[in-house]
């Protein structure tokens, strides 16, 4: 099913008798998702408003990330939350997955840049929330609730985003000698000083990676100060700026796991895991592959681990019962017929 308008979509949902799976590019599906009849929103495309001087973009959900990037770049702007650009990504899918890249440590997640939404709920009602302005506390913030809801509460049809200027200058510092656990201390040191770091990651073979961006003179000053600070952790080299788009592992052997933790907890978790595929967000995001069907055996920590590829969905630890009850209750109220359950 591929509706061409929001009204068509609303009609389709109203008349649906069996589960539907809203799909953008289908590039970020987790295990267990996409099992219903696919509701393809790639017909709902186009930028409906772009005001570079107000840092505002309004776009229909099926519009591809590639098209949005191109339009923004023509005006010297970008999406600050830096979603990874796997081919076919749509803006609705990115919002539904709250997909956020390395610059999250500085500029926040996708949900922080999302200013407004339109969506169709499980009864086919067209709902709007938020708007196109940065400061808005008019009523409840359903925008945040829809961001990352993975299509369970409704089908996103239109989104407003805050855009950001592309920094004129960018520099990546690398500490190639560090393994993942040792890298966390270096990343923490960079993130806890006045350097305005816009990326703090680790990749096998490349070591710790730290990015600073801004006006040319400013990047030079901060780069020098940061190099001095990081010397305590090893030799600082010039890093590969292209690494920042490679931090979400693709095509891993076995099941890919995404582990969220406090950076200070990362070394203990890393000690209990095989060699990670990447670290991001200063060490609070660990990507690791495990043999199919296996779950990680981890010491108690304050975050969570999610299996993002493989046959079966699993998140550890099990959710708090009250949180689970609220999630279920919201699902029931936004989609009483459970049309978007799978």
């Amino acid at each position: 099913m591929r509706p061409e308008t929001e009204d068509d979509l609303s009609q389709l949902i109203r008349s649906a008798g069996a589960p539907l799976s809203p799909i953008g590019g289908g590039t970020r599906l987790h295990p267990g998702e996409g099992a219903g009849e696919r509701l393809n929103v790639s017909g709902l495309t186009g930028i409906t408003l772009y005001e570079p001087a107000a840092l505002t973009l309004v776009v229909r959900a099926g519009t591809t990330l590639t098209e949005v990037r191109k339009a923004l770049a023509a005006e010297g702007q970008m999406l600050a939350f830096e979603p990874d650009d796997r081919p076919g990504s749509t803006m609705g899918g990115i919002a539904a997955a709250n997909a956020s890249g390395p610059r999250r440590v500085q500029a926040g997640a996708c949900r922080d840049a999302l200013l407004g939404v339109r969506y169709v709920n499980g009864q086919g009602e067209i709902v709007k929330n938020g708007g196109r302005v940065m400061k808005n506390v008019t009523g409840y913030d359903l925008v945040k609730l829809m961001a990352g809801a993975r299509g369970r509460l409704g089908v996103l049809t239109e989104l407003s985003f805050k855009t950001a200027p592309i920094p004129p200058c960018s520099a990546t510092l690398a500490l190639p000698g560090l393994d993942a656990a040792a890298a966390v201390a270096a990343l923490t040191s960079a993130l806890t000083g006045p350097y305005d770091v816009s990326g703090a990651a680790w990749l096998p073979g490349q070591g710790a990676l730290i990015r600073i961006e801004g006006l040319e003179g400013s990047v030079a000053i901060r780069g020098k100060a940061l190099t001095e600070r990081l010397a305590a952790f090893g030799e600082v080299a010039e890093g590969d700026g292209a690494s920042w788009s490679r931090l979400v592992p693709q095509g891993a052997e076995g099941d890919l796991w995404r582990i969220i933790c406090r950076p200070s907890e990362a070394p203990a978790l890393l000690a209990a895991l095989p060699q990670p595929l990447a670290l991001d967000w200063g060490g609070s995001l660990i990507w690791v592959a495990l043999p199919a069907g296996e779950a990680p055996a981890l010491p108690a920590w304050s975050g969570h681990a999610t299996r993002v590829t493989g046959a079966e969905a699993l998140t550890l630890p099990a959710p708090d019962p009250v949180v689970a009850r609220l999630n279920a209750s919201l699902g029931q109220r936004f989609d009483p017929r459970r049309i978007f359950a799978s």
Binding site: K135, G139, K144, A147, A164, L330
Partner: protein, 481 residues
């Protein structure tokens, strides 16, 4: 302004309810009518009503115990931080228990390596930064009331401030909360990493005006302090030119931490009050940039070049701490200065920055039609306007005329693509205007969230939604009880 009538069944049980509350929080219940008067309003003092009782708990467990009793007794509850709400967000009804968080002001945990602080919700905004200042960190959201307002209230209203152009508002700096639901269950949402599995419940609790639960603890993102900051003051001979200059600066890719705007009536009032030495002009901007000294120079040079294209009357770059203080002095005194002249009502609509000239012209036209002066001071970088409508509270009919003008200005903000409130919240003040921004379906979608968190609609229920729209839920539940 209407409030639902108090439930006589609850009023009749006042003493029994207070006695039950005393059992779980001895020494922390106020029900003497002489003392509950202190809680009859928040900073929106035009509307008042003493509550049934006030409870001042010291722990999350006490909040939970109090809520369990109120839930069993069917008593409405109104949470209150420091009571600085400008929209009547914590105004009580006569049958409501106020839960005040002012005693809960401790720092519970600080981790500089993980860049967060965990505080009790009654802690004041400025004292959060104070707690991490020595280590070189700060908490970014800076509402003008930051000396007095509580973090719990900031979360309820999703508060912003002058520096949110760069750092965002509360929701962008809030990593987690401990919240007590109306039935007394205690739950943690989010966490020190700011990401949790499932729906973003933290995101919807922030800005929900105390209607979904009572936040008792907050995990806040702390940031390393920038090396320095420097403001400039740019004066123009027309408001439209100042507005165009703001757009050009943002368009050029410079992102100052703050861009503040004041128009002539506001400048004249603040000069008479604070003597900041502002130039004689129609409008001025205060633009602040951050970083090391060379970084600041680099950014200010760009801003100077852009501003020059708009032929400013004056471009005053601060050369010292004292000059910086004086540039900010007038802006920070603006509200106090207006209060010296007359009574005023402060609006809080947000507009797309591109519509600024159109909206300023519209406000001037409406001001003439209603015969009341309006001064403008606002966060220009993000379009959050604060038109101040001057009126005389002692003159019969003036308040009503002022409210009518305020409503027209806010509707204008919505018409051009903005919203009714950017940081103060809806409260009781703008409740009835919600239908000008949202359809019935939009409001229904929001109310379903309250249904999930507070099925009996006991928490702060007469706020945010137009009374007629929320009546079936509030009254249906009550009559069934």
């Amino acid at each position: 302004m209407q409030m639902p009538p108090p439930d006589p069944r609850i009023l009749a049980r006042r003493d029994a309810i207070a006695a039950r509350l005393r059992e779980v929080v001895p020494g922390a219940v106020i029900d003497d009518p002489a003392e509950t008067r202190a809680y009859e309003c928040d900073a929106l003092s035009a509307y008042r009503c003493p509550p049934l009782a006030v409870v001042l708990p010291a722990t999350t467990a006490e909040v939970a115990a109090v809520l369990r009793i109120c839930h069993q007794e069917g008593v409405p509850v109104v949470p209150r931080g420091a009571g600085t709400s400008l929209a009547g967000g914590s105004m009580p009804t006569a049958d409501a228990v106020i839960i005040g968080l002012s005693r809960m002001n401790a720092v519970l945990e600080t981790s500089f390596d993980d860049r967060f602080i965990r505080v009790q919700a009654g802690r004041t905004n400025l004292s959060v930064s104070g707690a991490v200042d020595a280590a070189g960190f700060f908490y970014a959201p800076d509402p003008s009331s930051q000396l007095a307002c509580a973090i719990g209230g900031n979360i309820g209203m999703n508060s912003g401030g002058a520096h949110c152009l760069k750092y965002g508002v509360t929701t962008n700096n809030l990593l987690g909360v401990t919240v007590v639901l109306m039935d007394g269950s205690i739950v943690e949402l989010g966490g020190p990493m700011g990401e949790a599995p499932g729906l973003d419940l933290l995101g919807v609790v922030c800005g929900s005006e105390g209607q979904l639960g009572i936040v008792t603890e907050a995990v806040l993102r702390i940031l390393p302090k920038p090396a320095g900051a420097r403001p400039v003051l740019v004066a123009f001979d027309a408001s439209e030119t100042a507005g165009a200059c703001v757009a050009a600066i943002i368009r050029a890719g410079v992102l100052p931490v703050a861009i503040e705007f004041m128009d002539r009536p506001c400048i004249l009032a603040t000069e008479a009050f604070a003597h900041a030495g502002y130039p004689d002009c129609e409008a001025l901007l205060i633009i602040e940039v951050e970083g090391t000294a060379p970084e600041i120079d680099e950014q200010l040079a760009l801003i100077r070049d852009i501003a020059a294209r708009f032929s400013p009357i004056e471009f005053r770059e601060s050369q010292s701490e004292d000059e910086s203080r004086r540039i900010w002095l007038g802006r920070k005194s603006a509200f106090g200065a207006m209060g010296q002249i007359n009574d005023y009502m402060c609006l809080d609509g947000t507009i797309p920055v591109s519509t600024l000239p159109q909206v300023l012209a519209g406000i001037a036209r409406l001001s003439g039609e209603f015969g009341l002066d309006v001064a403008n001071v606002f966060h220009a970088g993000d379009g959050n306007m604060h038109p101040l409508i001057l009126y005389n509270a002692n003159k019969p009919g003036d308040l009503e005329r002022c409210e009518a003008l305020g409503a027209e200005i806010l509707k204008l903000c919505v018409e051009v693509g903005g919203c009714l409130t950017g940081e103060h919240g809806v409260g009781v003040e703008k409740r009835e205007l919600m239908s000008s921004q949202f359809s019935d379906i939009d409001l229904e979608a929001q109310m379903r969230v309250k249904d999930a968190f507070d099925p009996q609609w006991l928490l702060n229920a007469a706020k945010v939604f137009p009374l007629a729209v929320s009546a079936p839920r509030r009254e249906g539940i009550r009559n069934a009880a």
